[in-house]
């Protein structure tokens, strides 16, 4: 309730703060940049806090065991779609990728469906979506969500079609009962515990992310105040076909969370990069990370890891190109 009230007052507050606290006259670049920052920074922070809290509570209803229950024995495609969606709401950290992979595969979740989950879990997340919404508007956030799910579904499906089961390390299948040692937690969780998990998530994520966020908004404010609008659509724009593959390749060795990458995306867009190129870069950094591949090496042979990186990279590439073409 209080949250809503404060949120509604933000715009007048930013105006007031800009013009009364600083000796600035309306209409200059500096003024409009400052007003942009004073409005956007608290807005995005508040939005992020709310969404991270809600998602934290929602996640307490989902466990990897439950996701596996839904996905075991599912057919291709429908299974890929479901896995991509579950990947976004099931609590997941990349250090859990191996136990999760083993738990899925040994319970009869098809390999491709498992990959859809593993691709969407890091790439499509609430922090990325809130930041994109806050800084670039809901259309771009929706596009990112759609692109991310499409890549997770498509890549997982393609990997499934390739029949690469023999490139999974043999020892994985010795763990026939992975996941069975755990009492399903969602049944014994109280609401108090769920709310606490939400607050934990806020402290954890917002506490870590806010400096990047302010940097991103400051970059946005600078562009807002100083860079003319048509500048965006020039140099590194949609015409340069090679900009998308370059963005994907550059993104693989770079590893960052969604918040860390947003200032860079801001700067890229400010320098005139096309939207598809900037989003492809962001997806490559978040979705294709070397540390995660190193972790997965414990359960996958090199050939499958290379295929995974190749297929997802191609997916990002195609989506980035398509996007630049259509826009």
């Amino acid at each position: 309730m209080a949250w809503g009230l404060v949120y509604q007052r933000l715009s007048p507050f930013a105006k007031w703060a800009t013009y009364s606290l600083f000796p600035l006259s309306p209409g200059t670049h500096l003024t409009s940049a400052l007003e942009f920052f004073l409005y956007e920074a608290p807005k995005v922070l508040m939005l992020l806090t709310l969404v991270v809290f809600v998602v934290g509570v929602v996640r307490s209803f989902f466990t990897p065991e439950r996701a596996r229950g839904f996905l075991a024995g599912k057919k291709e495609f429908a299974g890929n779609g479901m896995a991509a969606l579950l990947g976004t709401v099931t609590p997941f950290c990349s250090c859990s990728a191996v136990p999760l992979f083993i738990g899925f595969v040994t319970a009869g979740v098809p390999l491709g469906v498992t990959f859809s989950f593993l691709i969407s879990a890091p790439m499509v997340n609430e922090v990325a979506l809130v930041l994109l919404y806050g800084l670039f508007g809901w259309k771009i956030a929706a596009i990112y969500l759609g692109m991310g799910l499409a890549i997770a579904i498509g890549s997982g499906w393609a990997i499934g079609r390739m029949g690469m089961e023999r490139y999974v390390e043999e020892w994985v299948f010795a763990n026939a009962e992975a996941g069975s040692g755990v009492i399903p937690e969602e049944q014994k969780m109280t609401w108090e515990m769920r709310l606490r998990l939400g607050l934990d998530a806020v402290r954890d994520i917002v506490g870590k992310v806010w400096p990047y966020l302010l940097a991103g908004i400051a970059a946005g404010a600078a562009i807002h105040g100083y860079v003319p609008e048509n500048f965006m659509a020039s140099v590194m724009g949609a015409d340069a076909w090679w900009s998308v593959p370059l963005a994907v390749l550059l993104g693989i060795p770079l590893y960052s969370n969604a918040a860390g990458i947003i200032p860079i995306v801001q700067a890229l867009l400010g320098k005139g990069a096309a939207l598809g190129t900037a989003l492809a870069f962001m997806m490559s950094v978040i979705g294709l990370s070397l540390p995660e591949m190193v972790i997965l090496r414990k359960v996958l042979k090199m050939r499958l890891i290379a295929t995974f990186a190749g297929v997802v990279g191609m997916g990002i590439l195609i989506v980035g190109w398509l996007f630049n073409l259509v826009m």
């Binding site: 466990t63 990897p64 065991e65 596996r68 609590p91 997941f92 950290c93 990349s94 250090c95 859990s96 191996v98 136990p99 999760l100 083993i102 738990g103 020892w171 763990n175 009962e177 992975a178 996941g179 069975s180 040692g181 755990v182 009492i183 937690e185 515990m193 606490r196 998990l197 934990d200 972790i295 414990k298």
Partner: protein, 88 residues
Amino acid sequence: MPTSGGNEKENMKIAILGTGCPKCRQMAEVVRKAVEKSGMDAAISKVEDIREIMKFKVMATPALAIDDEVKISGRVPTVEEVTSLLVP
């Protein structure tokens, strides 16, 4: 939980399962505090090898096992929660 001979302060075996991510370290810290608080004589061990972790049949880390039984998996508990698990 099978307790032997009714002696509650019998050496408990507490295992923290995780490959060394930040959340696993948080969990280790929480468990250390809980054990300290309860004044129990417990042996805390960290299981970091993935094959050893998989023997506990978990699907998410960090996880907490007490006397080889998995109690918590995939999240960091509070000190109170762990204490209540230690002293049933």
